[in-house]
Symmetry: C2
Subunit: 277 residues, 2 copies
């Protein structure tokens, strides 16, 4: 892969990279369609990265379907599908990690303490292997996007990071490979995340700027479903991801909720459009 | 710098990089001469990196002489001398670090707990800026060389790391920018490091394989000088840098000694030649 990328670069090709953990859905495919537009060579990686899963999380159970993934990636124009093995990525005696500090402390960083170290490390590795001019990430994983942007800037990595709007089901549910875990009765409860964001948008648009008021309304809606266990509902500065009391600068409301088995996340940047019915 | 390096790569030039903290001596110049031989474009960086100095260490006092350094680097054939400012390298809100675990725990890692995190981080940054095909490091900083090799392998960085033999004064003292701190009476005491290595070599060559016996003999010699405070004298596996009891695999004896003000280091890989009178 590295040799192919170096050849492509020397031939003047612009490489665009979409890293994924596979089990592709329309959200991933939209990232690839965007990638197809902004570069000459589209590289998609499929790698369920063990170092970003904590003990007791769903690394073993994370859904996988490589054959289908490869077909879907090709259909939307991927030139190369890169799918390393765990042993290739983390051989015996592996011992190097990339840690981004400030922006990983809040939100998912609180309940998943090693998650972003794993994400930053595997992205650093993949960027060095694939050597892209640009990489495309989804805004659904908002903290991941902020973390990667921070790493790229801090470590002087020579690539552009593109953030793409969250792709949603027609009813508003954010697409996620983990939605496959939802049982019948839980699908409705899962909608409370996107509907909660809609409530937040409504309050904001009607002039509310007090974070606590918006958070309270969203929590009330989400916890009206018995299946739901809220991990967090927070309003943060979009750059630092620190909690804020008053919405004055660009801010994001971010949610993490366990809906039955899966832990789902969603978010909304105040003032932006929101494709939720 | 990054744009220049990208142009050089696209033009098919092989970039060789020698990162330094400046105050150049013959040891640095030998790295550059080697770099000159193995590439088309020789880039030398001069940057006293604050993140690899702990509290109470000599960051502020570290010797600097940029004008002389630039002249010396040019004389031995550097095409580009890169000297970023601290604010450019670590702007406000900087928060990303590269940590290499296993190989940084022993030796200097014990008395300088954040040192190798700083070294790995700044090298990752410089490699991303300079985009070299190869980088040249001295074996005098043996643990640094092992750490950088480990980081490059673990993070899939696409460059070769060349390790160069330590350059010594005619009497055997390893060249170091910190030798400038040695006062008159301490110069002789500082020689006890290289002479200690000579003692270790003699014992090894006469068949001694017990690490404790060799260490004891070296410590006795070094501590025969009143000015000397031993930080460590250890014998380690050259790959893992873990202590060993018996010299069976490739092993290194590594020393760190405070000689008056400066803390000096030196090392010897058993079985290799040693240019000490």
């Amino acid at each position: 892969m590295q040799a192919r990328s170096e050849s492509l670069r020397l031939a003047g090709k612009r490489i665009v990279f979409v890293p994924t953990m596979g089990y592709l859905h329309e959200g991933h495919l939209n990232l690839m369609r965007e990638g197809r537009k902004i570069g000459d060579s589209l590289v998609v990686s499929i790698f369920v990265n063990p170092t970003q899963f904590g003990p007791g999380e769903d690394y073993e159970k994370y859904p996988r379907d490589f054959k289908r993934d490869e077909e879907l990636a090709s259909q939307v124009g991927a030139d190369i599908v890169f799918y390393p093995t765990v042993d290739e990525m983390y051989p015996a005696n592996y011992q190097t990690y990339v840690t981004v500090e400030g922006v990983t402390l809040n939100l998912c960083g609180q309940s998943r303490p090693i998650h972003f170290r794993g994400v930053a490390t595997v992205c650093a590795k993949l960027f060095n292997i694939v050597k892209p001019h640009a990489a495309v990430f989804g805004k659904k994983d908002f903290q991941q996007l902020v973390t990667i942007r921070r790493m790229v800037a801090d470590l002087n990595m020579d690539l552009e990071i593109h953030g793409m709007d969250t792709t949603r089901e027609p009813d508003g549910l954010a697409m996620s490979s983990r939605n496959v875990y939802l049982k019948d009765g839980e699908r409705e409860a899962a909608l409370s995340l996107s509907r909660g964001l809609k409530i937040a948008q409504g309050l904001y648009d009607s002039g509310e700027r007090e974070a606590a008021v918006i958070i309270e309304a969203v929590k009330n809606h989400i916890s009206s479903y018995d299946t739901n266990i809220i991990d967090y509902v927070k309003i943060c500065d979009t750059e630092t991801l620190e909690d804020i009391d008053q919405i004055e600068r660009e801010s994001v409301i971010a949610l993490a909720v366990k809906v039955g088995l899966p832990r789902l996340i969603d978010n909304y940047v105040f003032g932006e459009p929101l494709a939720i019915p």
